[in-house]
């Protein structure tokens, strides 16, 4: 005999389903008057520090169709690389920046966030991770939320040294995580399947 560990198992994921908007963006779904505004719609407060950017793109399924019923969430550090989170122990983040956004895709499968460019964040073993934004995608037909990351095309040097991008390079898939920057607009399309399938992570 041996003592039992008595640990618990994580509750198994289930799909967010076709009516995910009721739960995550009730006002968008037409259920108004319950809460004043949908969470995560705005990430920026007055006087936010850093470079303002628009992050946008489309979610595409394996048949080339827009995933028009998904909800996308993003999470990122502030311009100094600090997270606005109780689990952040390195200092106080910019109070005018939430770091978290949530957006329902439109009929073309497009999402859009008004945010700021994050600073670099320390990675494992003394490395420095290139500026990046974490993505989480849920929808009908997605059994467990898909995790990925967006990097910036104007950060070639930092991207080359990034320890997570390095994991995807032997597979020749690192380019799927690098968003194209044109001025203040950063375009990051996400392909769930197929030739251009975006790298998804088990983090």
């Amino acid at each position: 005999m041996v003592q039992a560990l008595n640990y618990l198992k994580e509750s198994a994921s289930q799909t967010a389903g076709p009516y995910v908007h009721i739960g995550l963006t009730p006002n968008f779904s037409g259920i108004t008057g319950v809460i004043p505004h949908d969470l995560g719609k705005s990430m920026l407060g007055d006087g936010v520090r850093g470079e303002r950017i628009t992050v946008t793109g489309r979610i595409i399924d394996g048949g080339g169709n827009p995933v028009n019923d998904c909800v996308v969430e993003i999470w990122q550090a502030d311009a100094a690389g600090i997270h606005n989170s109780p689990a952040e122990h390195r200092g106080a983040a910019d109070p005018a920046f939430t770091g978290w956004g949530r957006c329902p895709a439109d009929a073309d499968g497009r999402y859009r966030f008004e945010t700021i460019k994050p600073g670099p964040v320390p990675g494992p073993n003394g490395t420095l991770m290139a500026p990046h934004i974490s993505f989480w995608i849920v929808a009908r037909g997605i059994n467990i939320g898909l995790q990925t990351r967006m990097y910036f095309s104007d950060e070639e040097e930092a991207n080359a040294a990034d320890p997570i991008l390095a994991r995807t390079r032997p597979l020749r898939r690192d380019h799927t995580l690098v968003a194209r920057r044109d001025g203040d607009v950063v375009t990051f399309d996400i392909y769930l399947q197929g030739e251009n399938e975006t790298v998804f992570f088990d983090i």
């Binding site: 198992k9 994580e10 509750s11 289930q14 389903g17 319950v34 998804f200």
Partner: protein, 250 residues
Amino acid sequence: MHDRLLNAAREAAGFVPRDRNWHPPALTPGYKSTFLRAPGQALIAFDSTLSERTGPAFGHNMIGALDNDLIHNYARQGESAIGQRLVVHGRVLDEMGRPVPNVLLEYWQANAGGRYRHKKEAYLAALDPNFGGFGRSITDENGYYWFRTVKPGAYPWPNGVNDWRPAHIHFSVFGTGFAQRLITQMYFEGDPMVDLCPIVNTIANKAAIGQLVAALDMAHTTPMDSLCYKFDIVLRGSRSTLFENRPEGN
């Protein structure tokens, strides 16, 4: 060395890896919507970094008085939603059994007839003018939450020719880190339709399914008012140990 180990203040620890055999895989042929939406390549695994060990927090002051009352939060003044009155309550815990305080839960469901208030919903069951189907809570210092609702109805859906969803409530849960982000569904004890559901059966492990079935909780039922179901939710645990001295819990 020993002293340094005991006194080292480090950032939040990494999370216990997800058991991908416990969760449903991406592609589950019984649930046809997964065919075009399941990634075909292997997920690339790495230990969570600061970017995933941290996550957003929401203040208790954000929550309105009726946010956790689906019977009344969409109803006209003096009216209430139709259906079997329920209280759903439980705790958010991590895999080590520790309560997870101050985290946001959002929940949504069909009305008592099995109809969602959503533009894409085509089921012929009637809408209830007094039922929206959305609510939210933030766990207290013991990881506890509760809300009032009506029991959702079962409903048919286009998958197989005659597939029905058992009565269920959707839950979205935040943890302390973005890597803990979870969406799941709660089912009801004794419902024979749970075993028949293609979405339930995306989960291969019977014990994992059982963990999503809420028990009838007569001890907390309100006499002459509401039945009660208890539903605990478990988020990923962090690997922090007693040997690491941290300025704050994680």
